[in-house]
């Protein structure tokens, strides 16, 4: 039924347009979400859209009277806070049948529900019947990245969109993932990974949850759409709160400077494993499921290791710290005098003697080393939209008309994506799906 298209120029155009929009707005160095101690969530229906023109019914948690969200609001709380989550069931279903109960479970939290709560007992937790409210309460004892999701008819309800992320900020401060110096970061990005089997959403849209009963859709689950933070590429790179994506408010656009630490909070929000490959360099996995990988309480992440692909498992979270300096490339990433007078620069490793320039974090041992090869002529090359025309960071060079253009500051861009490459599509259109780009801007280029 869906259109099968092989690599279209249209797709490339969409990618470019989305990215250009991003560059004109505040991208945000911290993760979008809602803060506080009491959260009023409402279970509702909504419709998400995918870059191939698809529209799908979702069930999502809304912030109060807002729209349903895919994924649910990212709840950002402080360590030690007494957190209350009130969930009201305003779900409606096709055919006028009784909407199902809804609920939330909070893996990693000790949840209490008042005995007088009007919620009805379910298998995993108390649930809110149609039109009713249930209140969950927990103390955010431990910092870290957690997930929350439906505890009712989970196979269907999580697929429909009832899932989200909880971030507990440690007492040490908002720029720490955990209470240890080695968990410090400069910027952070959420990567909540989900997949979708549209047959389920179409059945529920037409017939309500009964539409799935008697089918093998849940048993023989077959996703054909993949998302980061509820969006499929290239929408992942569009602005957060984009007006044309009202039910998908969160983007995924990691940005940083050389030498900065980027905290990756990777959440397995669906039912599949995903090998999330972050081009550019290794990342140090410092925690799993909100547990710092430490051999003892005060050691810091001494059991951490570095990976080039994060194995994201369903229902699990991973915190990893990514850094990039270009150390050891064997050529000067800012060019040399031989490339032109505008490339002349110094590398001063004097104040903090660590091998890197004190301000730009340039690796001084590679300073002034020439670019090692001659690049082919323009007519022999195909150019990416994010190519600046120059191999040097922060530089632009002329490209044939219509080429490049998405990278106005000459940053370095890296594809971050599922390495199950079939998940980098929207149905049959490549590229799309579980993919975004990391943008490393030259020192001094403002981010935000």
């Amino acid at each position: 039924m869906h259109m099968r298209v092989i690599k279209t120029a249209f797709q490339v155009t969409v990618l470019f347009a989305a990215f250009l929009l991003l560059l004109t707005v505040n991208a945000g160095a911290m993760i979008n979400g809602i803060t506080g101690t009491t959260f009023n969530l409402t279970a509702k229906t909504g419709h998400i859209s995918t870059p191939d023109g698809g529209s799908y019914l979702i069930w999502g948690y809304a912030n109060g009277t807002g729209l349903a969200q895919y994924p649910g609001p990212t709840l950002i709380v402080n360590q030690g806070a007494l957190v209350r989550v009130k969930l009201t069931n305003n779900l409606t279903v096709a055919g006028g049948g009784t909407p199902p109960n809804v609920s939330i479970v909070f893996p990693g939290q000790q949840v209490t529900i008042a005995s007088a709560d009007p919620g009805v007992p379910g298998i995993l937790t108390k649930e809110a019947a149609s039109g009713k409210t249930v209140t969950y309460q927990f103390t955010a004892t431990n910092p870290g990245t957690y997930t929350y999701y439906s505890g009712t008819d989970s196979a269907l309800q999580i697929e429909m969109g009832f899932m989200g992320t909880i971030i507990v900020r440690p007492t040490k401060g908002a720029n720490f993932a955990y209470n240890h110096q080695d968990a410090k970061f400069d910027r952070e990005t959420l990567f909540l990974l989900t997949e979708m089997d549209p047959r389920i959403h179409q059945a529920v849209e037409n017939f309500g949850p009964a539409g799935v009963v008697g089918t093998d859709y849940l048993a023989n689950y077959f996703p054909v759409l993949w998302f980061i933070n509820g969006r499929a590429a290239p929408d992942t790179m569009a602005e957060p709160m984009a007006p044309w994506l009202p039910y998908q408010p969160y983007n995924c656009m990691p940005m940083m400077h050389p030498g900065e630490k980027l905290l990756m909070r990777v959440v397995g929000g669906g039912r599949d494993l995903h090998p999330f490959h972050h081009h550019g360099s290794h990342a140090r996995v410092i925690a799993r499921d909100g547990q710092l990988l430490a051999s003892a309480p005060n050691t810091g992440p001494d059991l951490s290791t570095e990976v080039f692909t994060i194995q994201s498992q369903p229902g699990s979270t991973i915190d990893a710290i990514f850094e990039w300096t270009g150390k050891g490339l064997g050529w000067d990433i800012y060019g040399t005098a031989a490339d032109g007078p505008e490339f002349i620069h110094t590398c001063n490793d004097t104040i903090v003697v660590d091998g890197f320039d004190d301000a730009t974090h340039e690796y001084c041992a590679d300073h002034d080393k020439p670019f090692p090869v001659t690049l082919p002529t323009n007519q022999e090359l195909a150019f990416g939209g994010f190519y600046s025309g120059s191999p040097f960071l922060g530089s632009l060079n002329s490209l044939p008309p219509g080429q490049g253009g998405l990278n106005p500051n000459g940053g370095y861009t890296y594809m971050w994506h599922s390495h199950t490459e079939k998940e980098m599509v929207n149905y049959d259109i490549f590229p799309g799906g579980m993919m975004t780009m990391l943008l490393i801007e030259a020192p001094g280029v403002p981010i935000n």
Partner: protein
């Protein structure tokens, strides 16, 4: 499509492709950059002098055919090894030979890239075009998967940088600083080009190689990493790349049909480009007729070792559809590295672990050492196979797929 028809189409496309080549300007075309090499062969012969710590390689990117373990001939995209072929003086004369060698010369997996820490590596990629798909003008790249501190210009992601068009060459430069097990693949239209076969083994040997370390009462001179204590020492090493093909996708590509991306389901699970029992054939597989008789499956997965020896398995996964678990029946693996990093914490804490299975998604790697027991009987076989048991098949043929053997000499 029968193979005779296939041949006639190929002859036409090769001819038209070569005639198209001649319209390229003189400065364009096949061009190998390799310090000290004057005839563009990416090797040093005669009076040519290899600079210290310099390695060169010349890969072609194009299409070809392989033979699956059940006998099916499969159309692929892939890399060919053009190293050693003279390309200078430039076009027309010697470059033609390179194009002819590369055309339909794709191998699966791609030619292995083996490097040493400290190398300066010049990798020239020449796009030889798709002989069976003359309608395609796809550029190609090499993505050195996992390379730390990468720069986009040499990272091979077409969106972020440049990729090379048909009939021309691009030289990648890598300063090799970090030992470990990586992998490489084309990143253009990655879901398609990788499913079609543009993937290969790549690993870097550590600077510690050549030094002598005693570990467990035995002396080693070769190591997986710069461990400082010889604990990653080994006697023999084998790259093992997990992969799998969806024959319906390959058939659609060959027949110029729309490509079923989201519907991909792989039915030919493989190790190093072969299904069992081809995996344990130590030789190259016979050349398929469809590519004009070019040997396209050179990589065996048969592991052999003497009793008491330590075997390093460099396991990587470049399939594009799912996770696979590899189990080692009857013998345990000591995992000493992951994703090209020695498995130690930041303060040096040893995080090695013993296991009988490793689970890898696409783009992950594991270094595992197997100790062959000192009392193992000659001829003893251990099996390395996927415990995703439904992938122990070559399409509908059972008792095949993702399995190989470790044989005691």
């Amino acid at each position: 499509m029968n193979s005779i028809l296939k041949y006639s189409i190929m002859a036409v496309s090769v001819g038209s492709f070569l005639s198209m080549m001649s319209v390229f300007p003189a400065n364009a075309g096949v061009s190998v950059q390799c310090p000290g090499d004057t005839d563009g062969s990416a090797t040093w012969t005669g009076s040519e002098v290899q600079p210290p710590n310099t390695k060169c390689m010349h890969l072609g990117a194009g299409d070809g055919f392989i033979t699956m373990a059940d006998g099916l001939s499969q159309y692929i995209f892939g890399f060919s090894n053009l190293t050693g072929l003279v390309t200078r003086p430039v076009f027309p004369a010697p470059a033609d030979d390179v194009m002819m060698a590369g055309m339909l010369g794709a191998s699966f997996p791609a030619p292995p890239i083996v490097l040493d820490e400290g190398d300066e590596f010049y990798l020239t990629l020449t796009n030889v075009g798709m002989a069976v798909r003359p309608d395609l003008f796809d550029p190609h790249t090499v993505h050195y998967h996992g390379f730390p501190q990468a720069a986009p210009i040499f990272d091979g992601v077409p969106d972020s940088s440049i990729s090379i068009n048909m009939g021309s060459s691009l030289t990648y430069y890598y300063k090799i600083n970090d030992p470990g097990t990586y992998m490489y693949h084309c990143h253009v239209e990655a879901a398609e080009h990788m499913q079609m076969g543009m993937v290969g083994n790549l690993y870097v040997r550590p600077a510690q190689d050549g030094t002598t370390k005693i570990y467990g009462g035995k002396t080693y001179t070769r190591f997986a990493y710069n461990d400082g204590d010889g604990s990653t020492g080994y006697d023999v090493d084998y790259p093992i790349q997990i992969g799998s093909f969806d024959s319906a996708f390959h058939n659609a590509s060959e027949a110029v049909q729309p490509l079923p991306f989201a519907l991909m389901v792989d039915n030919y699970p493989m190790l190093n480009g072969r299904g069992y029992p081809d995996t344990v054939n130590p030789a190259s597989l016979p050349a398929p007729a469809e590519n004009g008789g070019k040997v396209s499956q050179k990589e065996s997965s048969l592991v052999t070792a003497d009793r008491g020896q330590r075997v390093l398995l460099r396991i990587s996964n470049l399939n594009v559809t799912r996770f696979y678990t590899l189990g080692s029946m009857g013998i345990s693996m000591n995992v000493i590295g992951k994703d090209a990093k020695l498995l130690r914490g930041p303060d040096g804490k040893n995080l090695y672990y013993k296991t009988n299975s490793v689970t890898l998604g696409g783009g992950q790697s594991v270094d595992a050492i197997i100790d062959i027991p000192a009392d193992a009987i000659s001829g003893r076989r251990y099996f390395l196979y996927t415990t995703n048991l439904n992938y122990l098949s070559n399409d509908t043929e059972p008792f095949g797929g993702m399995m190989t053997e470790i044989r005691v000499n």
